[in-house]
Subunit: 253 residues, 2 copies
DNA sequence: CAGTGGTCTAGACCACTGG
DNA sequence: CAGTGGTCTAGACCACTGG
């Protein structure tokens, strides 16, 4: 069998992969939030340096199996939330958890070229921009940046913005989101996002870029949301018929 | 400002983050496949140990900015392919690239409890299982595991399986996929997947678990596909109306 | 103040490639 | 055979928390 660079003759897998696999096995039956052996303990137990034990734990962390809470230690993680594209509040509630929103920043300003193009508005049109931190059962899970056309939602910033925005749109403004187009990509979190989500820099994140439309096909929301990839997954249902593919191609121009 | 554990008084950011940011800047104007300075060069240039320079490069690799080709060096990556949920062949072609498929394994067997439940079939029903490696312009990008009900696609394994399966379904069997439900999650690639996709173990991956249905709502395909997260993103269009949410809830039971 | 994870050093040997 | 990335060692100091 052909070997890849760096793979030793004597070890089928690198030590850190062997340790990660052993730990994964060991923890598979454990309760969420149960303690995981410390890096120093693992380095003794597996007779490797701490840097090598550390790599194994980092791997489990990036796959969402464990989480670190310095300086208390490392613990078994809960399983991921499977969210649908839509209202964070409604989705988290549906899954039997408690959603929270903290408004980090809210402002009204001219759309500008970039946001205007995304919302299908003149660059001089007014747009509300909300930055919110979303949590589940008190644990930070996502950062939202939401752009809403000011003409559709006059006085938005006077409402309470720590709940479901979609509920507010429907109730107060008669704006009814019915279709969304979203791009999902997997990226390491930058310093700022990692800090706000209370995870280490470069932890895996899911960046969801979304355009939401009402029944008339008008874009009523443009959002860029960053989710912790270790805590969330997305489920989508989509039309894959050739007709839908052609429609999407037209929308894109 | 409150500091998190491990952050020094004197450096706003860790050295590896500072180096990553500098490199990101430096490479932003570079052509894809241009060489990136070696880890040893970076460690001299930034006056850090090679392990620290290495962490910076690893970060850029995980965000898809560079790729490593040992022992030749590290190079600037191309931008991600934005795929829709559907036919890999059709999507890659639409984006102006050349799709390839290599059949790794094909077999027909009883569904069993797990796959049977996913396809809505009796555990004793026959199912075709295909394992394929998908590439774009010669670069491996995804691993597909596709399950198809044998009753819908008799003799499937006698056809050429190195092209679009959906085209084959439509053309040879009159099976027409019109709707898909997919779960997307971000996971580090395991050893086997990483090796087949020619990336390092634990590189970021997107695991797409998909149920595809025909116009009658029958599940005609159950697939688990693993994509390189550094090379791909997904775009989906989905119904987000309350009615659709209720429909999805009913489907799930 | 013991113990944790976060970061970092200054080396080492390895397999492999391409000139 | 020079140079690359892959892995690893055996330490070090740090900030922080909780008993």
């Amino acid at each position: 069998m052909r070997r890849v660079a760096g793979e030793r003759e004597t070890d089928q897998h690198a030590a850190y992969l062997r340790i990660a696999a052993a730990l994964r096995d060991q923890l598979s039956g454990a309760q969420p939030h149960a303690p995981v052996p410390s890096e120093r303990e693992l380095s003794e137990q597996f007779k490797v340096s701490r840097m090598t034990a550390r790599r194994a734990v980092a791997l489990l962390e990036s796959e969402g199996t464990v989480y670190r809470r310095p300086p208390r230690g490392t613990f078994v993680a809960e399983s991921r939330l499977i969210l649908r594209i839509g209202s964070f509040s409604e989705e988290v509630t549906r899954l039997g958890h408690q959603p929270q929103a903290v408004l980090l920043d809210a402002s009204t300003a001219k759309a500008g070229d970039r946001v205007g193009a995304q919302l299908g508005l003149d660059p001089h049109a007014e747009v509300h921009v909300l930055h919110r931190l979303r949590s589940v059962d008190g644990v930070p899970v996502a950062l939202e940046t939401t752009h809403l056309p000011g003409a559709l939602t006059p006085g938005l910033l006077n409402h309470a913005l720590d709940g479901s925005i979609w509920a507010l749109l429907r109730r107060e403004y008669g704006v009814d989101p019915v279709e969304a187009t979203a791009k999902l990509e997997c990226l390491p979190l930058d310093d700022r996002a990692a800090s706000q989500l209370a995870v280490r820099p470069a932890s895996p994140g899911i960046v969801l870029t979304r355009h939401t439309r009402n029944r008339e096909g008008r874009c009523v929301e443009y959002a860029v949301d960053t989710y912790r990839a270790d805590r969330t997954a997305f489920e989508v249902t989509t039309d894959v018929s050739p007709a839908a593919v052609r429609r999407a191609a037209r929308r894109r121009g």
